[in-house]
Symmetry: C2
Subunit: 310 residues, 2 copies
């Protein structure tokens, strides 16, 4: 028998209707034995030190018709840990066959001199996408924002320009007309849009796309929260007129590129050509609040929950 | 001086607001000299025998903000003739440098055993797409319909199955729920959608798409006519969840494939492995009515106007 210890888990209490509330989740502590069950020779017991809090989680907390393994009530909320899907728990058992590994796709297929727009550009993904596009010689503009006009938003927009080296950055919450904002930053149009938000911003981008433009559909955070009915995109005709390619992707399809990613990114970080910002909440108890802050636009950079220091 | 003859032209009288009316166009007869102007050594004078009436024309008759060379009032309505863009006129002068050649893209990137759905499948493009997909070994279902329930619609659906050899066909006008109709014909989902209609049908298809599905955006006829505001597509999140690629295309980008197309299709027609239906209106005077019939869903197959027999 292994040592018996308590394992903290974050449980889904209610299906989320529109906006997530902290009370949709609850904390449960159970006793587990630190031991690999017999017959699981291939298994590794992992103690979570950090949890990753990602926008897509909300989709799984709704009782909706998507071809995704959505959460069930009274079960652990799934998150990404360092190298795999896991739960909002302190201890997990990773069985190698079932391990689903994840990474972010790098290939934005950009070319030197092309114009790139990144939404939620100060987030975990956006901050890297923009910097990679800059290294590839592109003109890069990002947008960020949060619910209240605050010094925090200014900080995000400031980060994009001064820390991440974007050519331009704007607070979308201050723009009455996304079309006009995009025309200001892209007078000759957008070649590549890395879409983290969907909805009205995607619609505005399609109006401003250049011939043979490409849209990487990474996330649609504007559609996950606060909306009974997702916003419609009314101008897909632009995809024909401008021969635009739009493609959705999931990190899990591209894990084979992870070694290549590390090979590329680690030296760039060491040479200080790539930088990143993390936003760390302490303790597994803070996971529901961290998730809530993600949809309120309160986080900056990669949002993590520190479960244990060792 | 060349021979002076009368040249009939169809002129745009009013910008179209929602639905096209025959009265939005008018016929004008002018005198021209059958002669190549001096300094145009590269030019050929062409007498139009047939005009092609295509769904996209309506987009050009509206005074809207699309990056397209839309028609101007009191000017000739543009159509495609055999090998280029021209006007709804009897005689045209084709100057080689300005010649913009057109063809339909064949590459649906389909693979044996994949499931293919084609909308407006009895139209000029749909009838060929479906047959090519059948030859490539795919399971093919098409839809067709018109405004009134009529024997004509039955004929279209009948054509799809019996003349073009589709595996299934349905009249979308008889379906209350496009989602349910698609689930009936594609219980395991759709791999490839050749979209000629856009709007609500595209939305239903996205719900029924399989992982790594592809959508060729060819036209959005449901959005050109009858709608003050185009319909929104509210479920683009499916493109992420299912990693769907959607890409718009124009015939003019693919003209280099035209010789290859002929090489492929001519023997298939001779061997009766490919067939086609044409719908021919007589006389240039019938062009406005033919265009109107296109948006009413009254035509079957490729819609042409016979201008002259020789």
């Amino acid at each position: 028998m292994g040592e018996e210890i308590s394992n903290k888990q974050v449980i889904l209490s209610n299906y989320v209707k529109t906006s997530v509330k902290e009370s949709d989740m609850s904390l449960r502590t159970s006793k587990i034995q630190i031991k690999i069950p017999s017959g699981c020779d291939d298994a590794v017991l992992v103690k979570n030190l950090y949890l990753s809090v990602d926008p897509f989680i909300l989709s799984l907390m709704k009782n909706q018709e998507l071809d995704l393994p959505s959460f069930t009530l009274d079960s652990v909320c799934l998150v990404f840990i360092l190298l795999g899907n896991a739960g909002f728990v302190t201890f997990i058992l990773i069985v190698s066959e079932k391990q689903q590994l994840e990474m972010y796709e790098l290939e934005t297929e950009n070319q030197r001199g092309e114009t790139v727009y990144v939404s939620t550009a100060s987030g975990a993904v956006g901050q890297l996408v923009g910097q990679f596009a800059k290294i590839a010689g592109c003109y890069v503009v990002g947008s960020a924002g949060n619910k209240e006009k605050s010094a925090f938003t200014l900080m995000k927009v400031d980060l994009l320009k001064n820390k991440f080296g974007f050519d331009g950055a704007f607070n979308y919450k201050e723009e009455q007309d996304y079309n006009a904002a995009l025309k200001r930053y892209f007078p000759d149009g957008i070649d590549i849009y890395f879409d983290n938000v969907g909805g009205k911003m995607l619609e505005a981008v399609l109006n401003n796309m250049r011939l043979n433009g490409r849209v990487a559909l990474c996330g649609m955070i504007s559609q996950y929260n606060s909306l009974e009915q997702p916003e419609g995109v009314h101008n897909l005709i632009n995809a024909i007129v401008k021969r635009v390619r739009m493609e959705g992707f999931f990190t899990s399809d591209h894990y084979h590129l992870y070694p290549k990613f590390l090979e590329m990114v680690v030296p760039l970080i060491k040479e200080e050509k790539i930088t990143y910002v993390e936003d760390i909440a302490e303790g597994i108890e803070s996971a529901p609040g961290a998730l809530f802050s993600l949809y309120s636009g309160r986080n900056v950079g990669k949002l993590l929950v520190l479960v244990a220091r060792e």
